[in-house]
Amino acid sequence: MTPIDIPTSRPKTPDAVTEPPVVRYLLTGVALSFLGLFLLLPLAAVFVEAFSGGIGVYLDAIRNPDTLAAVRLTLVAAGVSIVLNTIFGIGAAWLIAKFDFPGKSLLITLIDLPFTVSPVISGLIFVLLFGAQGLLGPWLSDAGIRIVFAVPGIVLATVFVTFPFVARELIPLMQEQGTDEEEAAVVLGAGPWKTFWRVTLPNIKWGLLYGVILCNARAMGEFGAVSVVSGHIRGVTNTLPLHIEILYNEYNFAASFAVASLLTLLAVATLVVKSLVERSAARRLTPVTQNTTS
């Protein structure tokens, strides 16, 4: 143990748990400059580049039939992903949060898996399964079904990379809420669906919405996995991110950034909704958190 010098003048409490103003301003300045340089500057660059050719070029790029086809495919892939992964997310969260069984932590790890797997590998596994040289390839081509380099492959890859989002939001939330309210409902005679609709769903609605928003943002923006399974057929298997890549590689920068600006608006909207959801969830949970932390 090192001896501790007790200062003769006792430090005032407010100053003791913070830094001198100079340090505070300096740290804040460095942190905000970093955020501005790394996050806000690229964000602004998208819009500046998008309008670099004038508003006419911008509108032409967006009204282009290939762009509109890409918008449609992106909406389809995102729509299917949201529906399937929301059902899965609620089911998995119910299972993990409400019951105890061996293998639970393994199951949670498996649900996280798409987050750690490279998007390129996520696409590759579907090519190896359904591609011409893949396991089911010969059988599928005999049956005349195309999955890879066609729309089903894009939807599958998108569902794969986005399946953790809803489950991941709901699991900790439902674990925290416990099982008391549902047990009371069941004991009082409510059926399974009534218990879910009237007790569980109102409790998890903000977390659910949050998960769906994140799932949607990733589904619409997924690039690597979709790139592997798409085959880049213009107007057929091009999603918005893939369309951005094609335009960019053709040196059609203004059009590329114009399409990118659509996805950037989606990202900004996602962040706005996300902070609104967080704020309403926080307001709802305030009494609880205050009790547990203070």
């Binding site: 430090p11 003791a16 905000l32 964000l43 019951f99 797997v117 390129v120 590759l124 399964l129």
Partner: protein
């Protein structure tokens, strides 16, 4: 597989939710991953070894690990700083900056890629200042590091931030009243408390950077031995219809991902950030 042996519960839906979860994961996860491992097993050990020890592949692994490590380290330092400033200080526009931290999660990687390339190009907003200094970022490993830093930042901020918020100020007051300087308090009291979460954020950011594709593809220029990271190499092999080569490289990458996931799980259990307290 999972052993069905639940503790007695009055709640309905155990069988249904277990069945559905396992069914969905089998369809989406086990069968496709099984296909990958089955494909690898058709490779002879020799062919596998020749593929993964090819100098170009080894160079890609080295580049991927180095750039991911540097980017995750930058994120650990600046992510901690950003989390600190957001939790401890008040300043105008704080809510906007707080929300903006999640931008890399929400912005599609391809958009981030072309945007960073535009900003860093020799005639871009930042590139025009770096170019006269002889600093090249586009088509160099430095550009890859910048892209990976962008992608990984939220991981560190969002794992450290809640721990910092929950930190008890009494301990800091005690340290101060016992005569510790502010810096000593930070180093001896605060840092040990947030260190597990900082390490978790570092590992998450590193794991994400290792597999990243979309934000790098535009800025790297994809030159073998110079700026070709592993996901780009897998993509190149696929475009040449070299499925066995792509699979062999992917398997090695996947093993590293699993190891990292395992490590992150241990870290998260240690730091307690995973489950809400």
């Amino acid at each position: 597989m999972l052993l069905v042996q639940k503790r007695h519960s009055v709640l309905p839906g155990f069988g249904l939710s277990l069945g559905y979860t396992v069914f969905y994961l089998t369809l989406l996860l086990f069968i496709p991953l099984g296909a990958l491992f089955l494909k690898t097993s058709t490779l002879s050990w020799n062919a596998f070894w020749v593929t993964v020890t090819d100098p170009r592949v080894v160079a890609a692994y080295q580049l991927s690990f180095t750039t991911a490590f540097v980017a995750a380290s930058i994120n650990a330092v600046f992510g901690l700083l950003v989390a600190w400033v957001l939790v401890r200080y008040t300043f105008p526009g704080k809510k906007v900056f707080d929300a903006a931290v999640d931008l890399p999660f929400a912005l599609p990687t391809a958009v981030a890629g072309i945007s960073l390339t535009a900003v860093l190009a020799p005639n871009g907003w930042i590139g025009q200042f770096l170019d006269p200094l002889g600093i090249k970022t586009v088509f160099t490993p430095l550009g890859i590091i910048i892209a990976l830093t962008f992608i990984g930042l939220p991981f560190v901020v969002r794992t450290v931030q809640p721990v910092l918020e929950d930190l008890d100020k009494d301990v800091e007051e005690a340290a101060a009243s016992l005569g510790a300087s502010r810096w000593a308090t930070f180093r001896r009291v605060i840092l040990p408390a947030i260190f597990p979460s900082l390490l978790t954020g570092f590992a998450l950011s590193f794991a994400r950077a290792l597999g990243e594709y979309g934000s790098i593809v535009f800025i790297s220029g994809n030159m073998p031995f110079k700026t070709e990271v592993v996901p780009l190499l897998i993509m190149t092999k696929l475009e040449q219809y070299d499925y066995t080569g792509a699979t062999a490289i992917a398997i090695v990458m996947l093993v590293f991902s699993f190891l990292l996931l395992f490590l992150i799980n241990i870290l998260q259990r240690w730091s307690g950030t995973r489950t809400v307290r």
